[in-house]
């Protein structure tokens, strides 16, 4: 009996030693990366493709790394709400001790969660936040998603040139940080371009019936409907607008929330002609992008969207920063490397961060044509 005990204790001690010895050896060459996406809730449509894009990037980087620097990803779901985002950030930063965080999906969540990372000094790279006031949180907060402030003016300028817009209606969700700040940029741009705003109509998150507002809009007979909404509401707006008999010549011009294949899938025929400014278009012919679209389509049996592309690029940017800094566990060194990054080749094009740690790369304008996003040319 006694002998058995001793053997047992020896075995336990041995096991503990191995367990204690193994992780440091591994983590020295793997970046602990926390990835926070909305896998459930209102933004689940975006979170799902973001996760896929990030997974593909991690897989390819680790396969190519050989004995070199790898990524140890930890995926978490923020459920599209800031409260859950806060829980997840606390777990990743204090529990898992991640070196860098990618995410969260929504600007609304980022505004609450990112101060936690800033306080402790963990670099955060947003891959889909486009509202104002995100990177202003602090010097550890970055994003590779072009802000509405860059994309929208470009979209409106092109749309005005090609469609000769004179008077429009502004329609937006007024209880969400992202849709509201999008509407602010639209309003400013419309004023700068000298396009008259006939009226402003708003809706709330979770609304399903937009017919009262759309009926008012129809009666005002605008040249176009300028709309800041997330894809769930955007789909309802687009299909109900056409059902109410607003003609297809009245284009619907959307912000970043419209930029998802889910819009085309949900609204179907009604989505034809919708104009969306974007950071990325699937038909871009750079070799890196062609390979990404190919690999993604092969792996998931459907083409990627912008959110997948930005998440894919985000993982690469964080990885390249760590590589340039020559570290897998120094948060500050990785942050400094991100600041210095210049002209990095990504699926989004030549990429750098601005002085304010926002994305710097060329935007595109696209429209829906025969069920696909293509570059807008009237």
């Amino acid at each position: 009996m006694k002998r058995f005990h001793r053997v047992f204790i020896a075995a336990v001690v041995f096991a503990v030693l191995i367990a204690a010895a193994a992780p440091p050896a591994f983590s020295a060459e793997a970046i602990k990366m926390g990835l926070v996406f909305s896998m459930t809730g209102g933004a689940a449509a975006y979170g799902a493709t973001q996760k896929e894009g990030a997974e593909l990037a991690v897989e390819q980087i680790n396969a190519a790394a050989g004995g070199g620097l790898k990524i140890a990803p930890i995926f978490e779901d923020d459920a599209s709400v800031p409260q859950q985002g806060t829980n997840v950030y606390n777990k990743l930063i204090n529990g898992d001790k991640v070196i860098v965080v990618i995410g969260p999906t929504l600007s609304n969540t980022a505004k609450i969660t990112n101060p936690i990372a800033q306080q402790i000094g963990v670099p955060v790279l947003g891959v889909s936040n486009t509202a104002g006031g995100i990177t202003e949180i602090g010097d550890y907060i970055f994003r590779n998603s072009l802000t509405e402030a860059v994309v929208i003016p470009n979209t409106m300028k092109v749309a005005k040139e090609k469609l000769g817009l004179k008077k429009v209606v502004l329609f937006y969700g007024n209880d969400d940080a992202f849709t509201k700040s999008g509407a602010d940029v639209f309003r400013k741009t419309l004023q700068a371009e000298g396009i008259q705003i006939l009226s402003e109509q708003t809706f709330a998150k979770g609304d399903r019936d937009f017919s009262p507002q759309l009926t008012q809009i129809k009666a005002q007979n605008p040249d176009a409907i300028v709309c800041s909404a997330l894809v769930e509401e955007a789909s309802g707006i687009v299909s109900q607008a056409r059902q109410l008999g607003i003609p297809k010549t009245v284009r619907i011009i959307g912000g970043n929330g419209f930029n998802s294949p889910a819009l085309i899938k949900n609204a179907g025929e009604a989505s034809e002609g919708v104009i969306v400014g974007a950071a990325w278009n699937i038909s871009s012919t750079s070799p890196l992008n062609v390979k990404f679209v190919d690999d993604y389509t092969k792996k998931y049996n459907r083409p990627p969207d912008q959110f997948a592309a930005q998440a894919f690029a985000g993982v690469h940017i964080a990885y390249q920063a760590a590589k340039a800094a020559g570290t897998a566990d120094n948060r500050k060194a990785i942050r400094d490397a991100m600041v210095k990054m210049k002209g990095l080749d990504t699926v989004l094009g030549k990429f750098a961060f601005t002085e304010g740690r926002d994305a710097d790369h060329p935007p595109v304008v696209q429209e829906v044509k025969t069920g696909k996003f293509v570059v807008f040319s009237n």
Binding site: T202, R208, S211, G245
Partner: protein, 296 residues
């Protein structure tokens, strides 16, 4: 003028869905004096099951609609058996039934989430072919007309059923007095079960119509209509079927007009519920409520 007419049509349409939903609430309340708070979950499941039948089983909506309605009715029987019947002997059965129906609602919603996922899902394109009519500047789709007609038809059938048939008369007898009905040889438990069946079937039908029109079904969609349904039956008069219909229409119209006038949906619920208070101040028993007569 066209504008107002169009908004009235919009309100009529959403109001008829509210009415159909609320009739299910009011039916159970009228008979049992119990609020069935799982009604909204049955509404959701009705819509989701119809979607599943169309999308996965490849049925036409004309077959899927009655089947999903039937399924919702069966859920009602389950509700009665699990959440209400075991508690009926208790002195506090009204309150405990209310709580256990909340529990059932949570279970139903969790099941819907597990089976259908958290995302909004949609009926495939072309499930119902939509024609668009322009009449005197007012745009109406065949889908809207169909939904109002189905809602109206179901309500007419229900009214005739309650007034003319033997079961309907028995339901009214149980509503009047359970004990007296039992003494007269009415199978009270059977009548309560059939009330739940009818109520839930109507709730499920409302869910399908709602899903078809708004084209966005999600496990939590019942929550958006749950409170409105309660407000509608209070507005119309607790237990009154025509009251629920009238209340639904009034609620739908007030919502649509509020949004149309203010240009925002922020005040939508505030105005609707303020109107509810105002009407209750003038008519405490609701629009078509019968006051305390039945208590005697």
């Amino acid at each position: 003028m066209n504008l107002l007419a169009q908004q009235l049509v919009n309100g009529l349409f959403i109001g008829s869905v509210y009415g159909l939903f609320a009739v299910g609430y009011t039916l159970v309340f009228g008979v049992l004096d119990i609020l069935n708070l799982a009604h909204a979950a049955v509404f959701t499941l009705g819509g989701l099951v119809a979607l599943w039948l169309v999308q996965t089983a490849g049925m036409s909506i004309w077959l899927a609609f009655p089947l999903a309605t039937l399924f919702a009715g069966l859920l009602g029987l389950l509700l009665n058996q699990v959440a209400f019947a075991p508690l009926r002997k208790r002195a506090d059965s009204q309150f405990s039934g209310l709580i256990s129906s909340i529990a059932m609602a949570i279970i139903f919603e969790a099941v819907a989430m597990g089976v259908f996922g958290a995302r909004s899902v949609r009926f495939p394109q072309g499930t119902v072919s939509v024609h668009i009519w322009h009449i005197a500047g007012v745009t109406i789709t065949s889908l809207q007309v169909g939904i109002v007609l189905v809602a109206a038809l179901l309500m007419v059938i229900l009214t005739l059923f309650i007034q003319r048939t033997r079961i309907g008369k028995a339901i009214r007898a149980v509503a009047e007095s359970e004990r007296a009905a039992m003494l007269l040889g009415v199978n009270v438990n059977g009548i309560i079960a059939s009330t739940f069946f009818i109520s839930s079937a109507l709730g499920g039908a409302a869910g399908i119509l709602y899903g078809l029109y708004f084209d966005a079904l999600a496990p939590d969609m019942g929550r958006s209509i749950e409170l409105k349904g309660l407000a509608v039956i209070i507005l119309g008069g607790m237990g009154s079927i025509p009251g629920a219909i009238l209340g639904g229409l009034a609620f739908g119209l007030s919502e649509v007009l509020t949004v149309a006038i203010t240009g925002t949906s922020n005040l939508r619920d505030a105005v609707a519920f303020t109107m509810l208070f105002a009407i209750l101040l003038i008519r405490p028993s609701g629009l078509l409520g019968r006051g305390k007569m039945r208590e005697a």
